[in-house]
Amino acid sequence: MTKAPGRSENAHGRDGTVSVVVPVKDGERYLQELLAALAREGVAEVLVIDSGSRDRSLEIARSAGVEVLEIAPEEFAHGRTRNLGAERTSGDLICFLTQDATPRRGWLAAYREAFELDARVGAAYGPHLPREDTSPMIARELTQFFAGFAPDGRPVVQRAGDPTFLSNVNACYARACWEEIRFRDIAYSEDQAFGADMLAAGWSKVYHPGAAVLHAHDYGAAEFMRRYFDEYRGLRDSTGHVEPFHVLATARYVREAMAGDLRWMAEHGMGRNERARWAVRAAVHHGGRRVFSALGSRADKVPSRLRSALSLEGRDEAVAATLNGSGAAGPDDGSQADALPLLPPGEHIDQMLQRDDYEVIARIWREGPAALADPVPGMADRERLRLAMVIPPFTQGSGGHNTLFQIFSRLERRGHACSVWLADYHGHMRDVWPAVLRHDINEFFASFNGPVYKGFDSWQGADVAIATGWQTVHAMLGLDGCRARAYVVNDHEPEFYAASTERVLAEDTYRQGLHCVAASPWLRDLLIDRYGASADAFQLGVDGNTYRPLPVERRTDTVIYYARHATPRRAVPIGLMALAELHRRRPDVRIILFGTDKPLHAAFPYEHLGVLTPRQLARLYAEATAGLCLSLTNFSLMPKEMLACGLPCVELAGVSAESIFGEDGPLDLAPLEPHALADALEQLIVDRERSARRSREGVEFVASHTWDHATDEVEAGLRHALRVREPRPATSS
């Protein structure tokens, strides 16, 4: 081995000495030419690592006066052997060439220039030019592939996020970078893995068009395909890449690639006959490559013997022998590595989302809410307000949305300028366009004459921006031009979730300083006590045109149950146990379940009515004897609608109903226990006088619970949100 003469350090602290490492096996064809080119370029230190050549390779290397290191063929591995070469040389820059890559004039100067372009350049690589006898397909591909890295023909610095491509056919490494990253001890594609690892570690690399080599891929068709099998198996091992394969796409690719080849051949002056001959070869070449690269990506699924036959190197193992991380166990750590469990190859997953679902929330946490607009004296008492309601996605039958639109449509009729804005983090309604949203709101809930927007691109500001569910709060907090913000809370939504992100986010909404307008006194008190929120309450209204006593004879043997199993807060398993107990005591009682599409499994016979329209519900309530409707969170509208139709009803004690009906109101309350619920229902069936009294009291009680009254309360809450923002008049001293 000849040592390079000492050189002065360059601008980036490198001394500029260069070593070249050439792994060789039976490489006599181009080796002499290669070594002569290195001598011409002025490379002082050249190391040839021979892994069992049976041709004149060793003789050629020795006669050229370069250092030769012989290793056993079974010791060779692309990453391990190159690490060995780097360790056995001393240059500040380490170049790797394959035995069939001949440097062109200016090669070394180009590499030196590449490492001057940036202080963090850890590697550089140059183009592989076709030799005279290279097939047109390969020649075109090589030329076009490398031209893509530097369209203007000048060197390009590549950093994290740029292509990770690196090829040890012709590459040069800064020793400091190699020492930090090292080649992974993998069977193939160690250069690609290095490229990815070094960029991830903050190094940059340079593609320099001047650092060119002549390089031949003069394989026959079968050899070429087997080589692709090996290469894509290696790529899967090193980067997790799995080559997709579709028959039609492959056919399209072959057609387009052949057309490209024929064009290229014509441009390079090839005759018609020659082009026709190559066209057949090109079809086999491109088609075979797609098939064999896909097979190589899935080598672990190919039977062992077939795998060995398909591999040019005769390898039959499914994946690489070891999968060390970058800079982990070195080539001599084999015994230690064997004792460690192997990691499976990581599967590369492309970016699937433009942004995370909850990015809106993260932004509010990071940057805080948008500033509110300046208050105007007297704004809380203006007759007409600009109200903007932000809603979550909906479906037909959504009770919460019905409440919102019953109220909002009435606010609109009172002269307020109302608009609706859909916040849809998860894209549940991505296929529903705004005019359809508006139409559906009118069809499903209540008449609304204002505009409906998806997203906030057209946001215009408002006197009060109104959030209406936990999913809407953070989006609303990001809107500017608002004089006040309010939060209409239909239920304590954290209780809809087990321990989860959603539960935490829902709880967070109550701590954002919004003035809440809660759908019951119970909920209002909870928001104040648990979260320290400021809150008013409103009472859910009942549509008196639909839910009222009807001229229908009331039966004396029928219990109806709102068995909405899909909503866990409805405690359906306990309700079913209560009805089973009632059936055991009174088998003659007729039991009807409704509110769910599919019949439920129950320990008693019953009639299943499915999901009913409001008018059908009113009819059912008018003829039933007793109703059962449970809620583990805020009180729902349904028991009120039952009462409005004169139907006595049983609800849970100790949750939220007492805050509306009192301890001894028109509603029968029972603890969450099947026998106690059965007792309450049985009393309403047996005690006719009690049942009649409950029916009468219920109708009287609910009569004042109208949507107009609910709208009064919500409007007062919205004005309250404005009022707390108004400047207080100065007190005279």
């Binding site: 300028a417 109302c418 705004p434 005019a435 359809v436 508006r438 204002g450």
Partner: protein, 95 residues
């Protein structure tokens, strides 16, 4: 400055304040009115666009496609010919 002048100054300041408050109230009412009209205009447009939105048809995007405008002009010309023929027929044979 005597007490009369002080009282007079306070009265002027109060009336100016009242005038400004009234002006703010008027501007606020105008703002709401403008917003209400804008809302009504957008809502009316959404009413008209219902079937386009339901069918996911963006007419602007459709008409930007190559040949779309030529097709429209061809249909318009064909319609003009058709109407002209009907007119001639009415003229010759009566309605």
């Amino acid at each position: 400055m005597d007490a009369t002048h002080v009282e007079q100054g306070k009265t002027d300041s109060d009336s100016e304040l009242e005038r400004l408050r009234a002006q703010v109230a008027t501007l606020e009412a105008e703002l709401v009115e403008v917003q209400a009209r804008a809302n009504a205009a957008v809502a009316e447009w959404q009413d008209r666009a219902y079937w386009l939105d339901r069918l996911h048809v963006d007419l602007n995007a459709l008409m930007r496609r190559p040949g779309a405008n030529q097709l429209r002009l061809a249909l318009k010309a064909a319609r003009a010919v058709w109407w002209r023929l009907k007119q001639v027929k009415r003229h010759l044979f009566g309605p």
